[in-house]
């Protein structure tokens, strides 16, 4: 019962650079983009429920501009892969990524999207072990499912990646960061 080596098709990621490339304009635009990231509702499994919880009143992703969950890839610029990517849905994930307008980012939420998570065992035949085999992933949010706070931290780090600067206070953990 060896797992067949699935030929996983990865998404096309070519992008043309902007015609007018002014550094200042790009920085200003990046700040606007990071403050209004519109995620695409692409909830696959358990992490989708935590994605909904993040959108609701208690954890309230609206404070950071990302509460507009667009169902269609045409109007979204952040693809949150929240759940297990199986071989049957891998071409769909690649196609949805290709159908998103630039600039676009990908956030792999949950161990399934990062590395196949709890469904990796020798001889497994149906799970793509990590969505980064298909898409270029910008932010990994570990957890099974990750807590909504981890979701928000992932969003903050994406904003830091887009603008080069962190906009929100650090979480008060003992270790802190860097």
């Amino acid at each position: 019962m060896a797992s067949p080596d699935h030929q996983v098709v990865s998404a096309v990621t070519e992008q043309d650079a902007p015609i007018v490339h002014l550094k200042l304009a790009q920085q200003a635009l990046d700040i606007c983009r990071s403050m209004s990231l519109w995620p695409m509702t692409f909830g696959l499994a358990c992490c989708a429920i935590e994605m909904m919880a993040v959108g609701m009143a208690r954890f309230d992703i609206a404070r950071f501009g990302a509460e507009v969950f667009r169902p269609s890839p045409r109007q979204s610029d952040l693809m949150i892969v929240a759940g297990t990517v199986t071989h049957k849905i891998a071409p769909v994930v690649a196609r949805l990524y290709e159908q998103m307008p630039a600039p676009k980012w990908v956030m792999a939420v949950g161990n399934c999207a990062i590395s196949g998570g709890p469904f990796c065992y020798p001889g497994q035949y149906s799970v793509v072990e990590g969505v980064d085999q298909i898409l270029p992933v910008d932010i990994y949010v570990p957890g099974c499912p990750p807590r909504p706070e981890a979701f928000l931290e992932g969003l903050f780090q994406l904003q830091e990646k887009v603008t080069g600067r962190r906009w929100w206070p650090e979480p008060a953990t003992k270790g802190g960061r860097r």
């Binding site: 019962m1 067949p4 699935h6 071989h87 049957k88 035949y125 149906s126």
Partner: protein, 178 residues
């Protein structure tokens, strides 16, 4: 119990299992041709199909149909043993429409061919590669008699001898006297 439900249907083996251990009220082993008439009887008696589950044993693939009743709860299991190389079982999808999906799932996982299924395409596995993943490696298969203890044998066809040698010495002695 209404014993006449299966009157006249060729039964390989009928047993009255220990209910609070196996959860079954009645347990019948039938030949493939006996499934459709038996299921028609159950349909007429108001039963509904719970699920169809497969079991890969050394003596072949055991297909178990579980039925239950809304008003008179009591689970009835019908079982068919089909050989590994050509597992063919007549389909009951035009009696219980819900069975179509259960049968397609079984043909995905075990490769059992249900003749007469209105839509025999793969259900859960990707359409391009159906790999019958639930079939066990030859070495790890266990024979039917070692797996299932049918409980007190009510009636047994001598050819169906999987349960005969070990645990029903009393049944044999009864046969010897009769």
């Amino acid at each position: 119990m209404n014993d006449d439900v299966f009157a006249g249907i060729p039964v390989l083996l009928e047993a009255r299992p220990d209910r609070n251990r196996s959860g079954l009220l009645r347990d019948l082993y039938l030949i493939p041709e006996g499934i459709v008439p038996a299921v028609e009887r159950l349909f007429a008696a108001g039963y509904h199909l719970e699920d169809i589950s497969g079991l890969d044993t050394k003596d072949g693939i055991l297909v178990s149909y579980h039925f239950d009743h809304f008003e008179k709860p009591g689970r009835i299991a019908l079982r068919v043993l089909s050989p590994h190389d050509t597992p063919k079982v007549p389909s009951i999808a035009n009696i219980f429409d819900g069975a179509q999906w259960h049968e397609r799932e079984l043909s995905d996982f075990y490769g059992v061919v249900f003749e007469g299924n209105p839509n025999p395409t793969p259900l859960l596995l990707p359409a391009t590669d159906v790999t019958t993943p639930l079939r066990k490696a030859e070495a790890s298969r266990v024979s039917l008699g070692d797996l299932i203890d049918p409980g007190e044998i009510v009636q047994m066809d001598p050819r169906f001898d999987y349960f005969a040698p070990k645990d029903n010495t009393d049944a044999e002695s009864k046969e010897a006297e009769a």
